[in-house]
């Protein structure tokens, strides 16, 4: 019997409306999608909190035309987790909207896939189209953490903690990881951005931002198999439907802010 975790999604920003042509490969400019939500996550057990991605920086969210809801750090505090005491931060991948608050975790040790670091510091970044979702200063901060002995590289698949396993999916980014978390409703796959929207898996619609298209598509199928086709156990990174399908723990005004993603539904 493994340890049981709660998975909280902190919905810190949103983008209302987004054209399919800006979202999916071969998407139509005539099809308008609901948009994207932006999340940071925290896994909580009796004695431990593991932060998964830190969310993007507020000025970048706003600068790129997204709407800020509230700081993911506030979300952690509302859950009783003090960012300055967090010991473990998993970086699912290093896109700007996931690594914008590394410095807010001064005591934390960070974990990321080795292929991700190689990609974001190497030749991949000499291609403008591939570097779009990465920012130099955040890649530099991750390098700095390595030299401070505060970053451990994960290779392939493995166990992160009792009840938390990581799987290298790749595709969307070179080192994109998914996490399998044991919850009160059984194993749940936190795909983060290995899947942005459920319809990527349901209809095999290819997200427009990728490192390796074929690997990304294979990842969709692999994760679908990991949950045996039960998509309620597969949590995408940006789907606006998440807030409709899982219990809201805290709202800010009308905006769902903290969601309980491991709850029995």
């Amino acid at each position: 019997m493994s340890k049981i975790w709660k998975i909280y999604g902190i919905r810190y920003a949103k983008q209302n409306g987004r054209l399919a042509s800006h979202t999916f490969l071969w998407g139509s400019p005539d099809e308008e999608l609901a948009g994207l939500d932006y999340y940071s996550w925290v896994l909580v057990s009796d004695d431990r909190a593991i932060v998964v991605d830190t969310g993007g920086a507020e000025h970048k969210i706003k600068g790129l035309g997204r709407q800020w809801i509230a700081s993911p750090l506030d979300g952690l505090k509302q859950l009783g987790v003090d960012p300055s005491n967090v010991e473990d931060v998993i970086v699912s991948h290093a896109h700007w909207d996931h690594v914008g608050a590394l410095a807010a975790f001064p005591k934390a040790h960070f974990y990321m896939n080795d292929l991700e670091m190689e990609s974001i510091t190497g030749e991949d970044m000499s291609f403008e189209v591939m570097r779009e979702a990465y920012h130099a200063e955040e890649a530099q901060q991750l390098v700095g953490l390595t030299y401070e002995d505060r970053l451990t590289f994960l290779t392939g698949d493995g166990q992160f903690a009792d009840g938390v396993d990581y799987t290298l999916i790749g595709g969307h980014s070179a080192g994109q990881m998914a996490l399998t978390v044991q919850t009160e409703r059984g194993p749940v796959v936190l795909a983060t951005d290995a899947i942005h929207l459920w319809e990527e898996v349901e209809k095999e619609r290819a997200f427009l931002i990728f490192h390796d298209l074929r690997q990304m598509l294979k990842g969709y199928r692999k994760m679908n198999q990991m949950v045996r086709g039960d998509l309620t156990r597969l949590l995408p990174g940006h789907d606006p439907l998440i807030k409709e399908r899982y219990p809201v723990v805290k709202s800010i005004g009308d905006e769902p802010f903290i969601l309980d993603l491991g709850a029995v539904i």
Partner: protein, 257 residues
């Protein structure tokens, strides 16, 4: 001579043999074309590491008529602190380095304190910044850098250590950089104490030896003080210490091995 004992340099070295160590960067010139090879150590970092800076790289280049601010090509042989300490002295330059070096200095290798010792976090972060500024091109293995300048992948001392083979008026010259630190290191196959992969480093010594066909005057190691007194100096410090050495000209004195 500054002190650097054999036991600090090579596996099995003697504790009573002082080899000294000189620090270089290089500049290749053909007509108007200038290629700077490595950027030397940051002067501010040298005293804490027990090294004595002699001259800024800007002043050293100015002495031979080159304005660092105008240099447009900088080739990096590897990213150890004594080779990449002055990246921002070349604001207009484009840089070249091996992708294997970058993968090593930003990746799992750097979680080992013993491997990371010769790298500086701030300098590595600056190199990453250059990539995002479209000012750094990655090399993969061997190739031609310019007419008369070929690069040779020589990993071992570092994961992406690279040497240059340069055509000069007196024939081809192997600028080994730190694939070879001292002439005796390659002649006797000594194992330098800073390495990413010792076996590859030793294989690199043999490769360098074969490239020059046993003619040591066709090779310039990266740190040997013999370079300083064997080659003609074009510029000197006020105290007479040589600065800019013409290593492409015939050596003035025989090599001591």
């Amino acid at each position: 001579m500054p002190e650097r004992y054999e036991a600090e340099l090579f596996i099995g070295g003697r504790t009573d043999a002082n080899w000294g160590m000189d620090y270089f960067f290089w500049m290749l010139r053909s007509g108007e074309e200038v290629i700077v090879v490595d950027t030397g150590a940051n002067s501010a970092k040298m005293p804490a590491k027990g090294r004595t800076p002699l001259i800024s790289i800007e002043a050293a280049l100015a002495g031979v008529g080159v304005n660092a601010a105008d240099v447009d090509k900088v080739f990096l042989t590897h990213a150890h602190w004594d080779h990449v300490g002055n990246l921002d002295s070349f604001p207009k330059a484009h840089f070249w380095m091996q992708q294997a070096e970058m993968a090593s200095i930003t990746g799992p290798d750097m979680t080992f304190a013993k491997i990371r010792g010769a790298y500086q976090s701030d300098e590595v972060q600056r190199l990453v910044g250059l990539v995002y500024e479209d000012r750094l091109t990655f090399l993969d293995g061997d190739g031609s850098f310019a007419d008369g300048v070929d690069y040779l992948f020589m990993p071992g001392h570092s994961a992406g250590q690279t040497a240059l083979q340069i055509e000069t008026a007196s024939g081809p010259l192997l600028l080994a950089s730190d694939a070879v630190h001292y002439y005796r290191e390659v002649a006797e196959e000594l194992c330098f104490l800073a390495f990413n992969d010792a076996k590859e480093m030793l294989a690199g010594l043999r490769k360098c030896k074969a490239l020059v066909g046993g003619n040591w005057d066709r090779m310039i190691p990266g740190h040997d003080p013999q370079i300083t007194w064997r080659y003609p100096a074009e510029t000197r410090l006020d105290n007479g210490d040589p600065v800019a050495l013409r290593v492409d000209l015939p050596a003035m004195k025989p090599l001591e091995l």
